[in-house]
Symmetry: C2
Subunit: 220 residues, 2 copies
């Protein structure tokens, strides 16, 4: 599965910004973009853009720049978003329910195929057409449904145990909403969503007078 | 309020990473750090670190580097996190409730002082010691409680109207959980949390073989 283990983490983050910006350009039928334009849209230098895209062998055409559709296709393929990903949610509390109701996952080729919770008041109930399963079924269902991504939406004290179970069951990535740092021994990828960091980031923007959106390039 | 309007957005993001990493070093009683060490911890060059910190007049001491406590103090002051921020949540659905129960806000000097919802089944109920108020009270309460940050946790179709009301009431920043792009005419700062982007980012990490956490430096 690892294709380019040497790509630095900040580059991965920037590549995802490029992809989102390119997708918004494609929606406007813009055929090409220069590294300078792409950089300007994301407050990066054109040298940075060229360096990042060169990691996977993409080079602009002199006087033309990058072909938007080509670049999107290559980015999606390398990023694995050209195929469907099955995901499971662990924890059917407020965050789990919000995620189950979230209608943007399908647009991005993610499907939530299972939800787990050990709370007897929740187990067996149906949320957004999915029956909440007990944790004892986790390993079996993850394997059967070929779930590659696990979304942890349990309280902090339960999160590490859930992460261990997900890793043992064979998931490759964990999206973590619990307010703890997970120890995954570099066995899987982890992306954490920390609401207090998001709010802190906003306070920074306000204090520094950065108006408008920090991610200028979010697709509508 | 705007202090350094010329600081580029990616620099603001990196500054917050520096602060989090420095805070974790302070917890370990590390007294100093070089730009090279700080950069290595965050996959950045030392030149980038020096350039970022020079934006607000911070320069390392040759042979010593930066004093961790000094740098934290200066970053917190500039970022405004040395004082308390009052925030309000609009929308007492799943995300709003999850945020109200989130115990990390207080640690970072944020206090949720009000929650609003127009659903008659929710209005007037008490969640985490806060009574849910009707939207018609928003402007008055925001002014009275000196709320500077608004957190939008309403469905997409209601989000722009809520943003307009928040701006008119005088908030300075909006944390947006609704899956839409807000038009704020550069009147306020906006930070958006998009769960599908977080999941996409995770798929990228998996596809690219980036194991472990993308934000290596999250404080525990």
């Amino acid at each position: 599965m690892p294709i380019k283990p040497k790509i630095p983490r900040p580059t991965v983050k920037r590549l995802s910004l490029y992809l989102r910006h390119l997708e918004s350009l494609a929606a406007l039928d813009q055929p090409t973009i220069s590294s300078k334009q792409l950089g300007a849209a994301l407050s990066l230098t054109d040298a940075q853009v060229r360096k990042d895209l060169a990691y996977f062998g993409q080079f602009g055409h002199p006087g033309v720049g990058y072909r938007v559709d080509d670049l999107i296709g290559q980015l999606r393929k390398i990023f694995g978003t050209d195929k469907m990903w099955n995901a499971a949610i662990i924890g059917a509390g407020n965050i789990g329910r919000a995620l189950l109701a979230y209608d943007r996952f399908g647009q991005k080729n993610f499907e939530i195929v299972a939800v787990f919770d050990n709370d007897p008041n929740v187990m067996g109930t149906v949320i957004e057409n999915l029956k909440v399963k007990p944790m004892k079924d986790l390993a079996k269902l993850i394997r059967e449904r070929e779930v590659k991504l696990g979304i942890i939406a349990v309280p902090g004290e339960a999160a590490q145990d859930v992460a261990d179970q997900l890793i043992n069951a064979g998931v490759l990535g964990i999206l973590n909403f619990a307010p703890v740092r997970l120890d995954v021994h570099d066995a899987v990828s982890v992306n954490s969503v920390d609401f207090s960091v998001a709010l802190e980031q906003l306070a920074f923007q306000v204090s520094l007078g950065v108006v408008g959106s920090l991610d200028e390039d979010r697709t509508p």
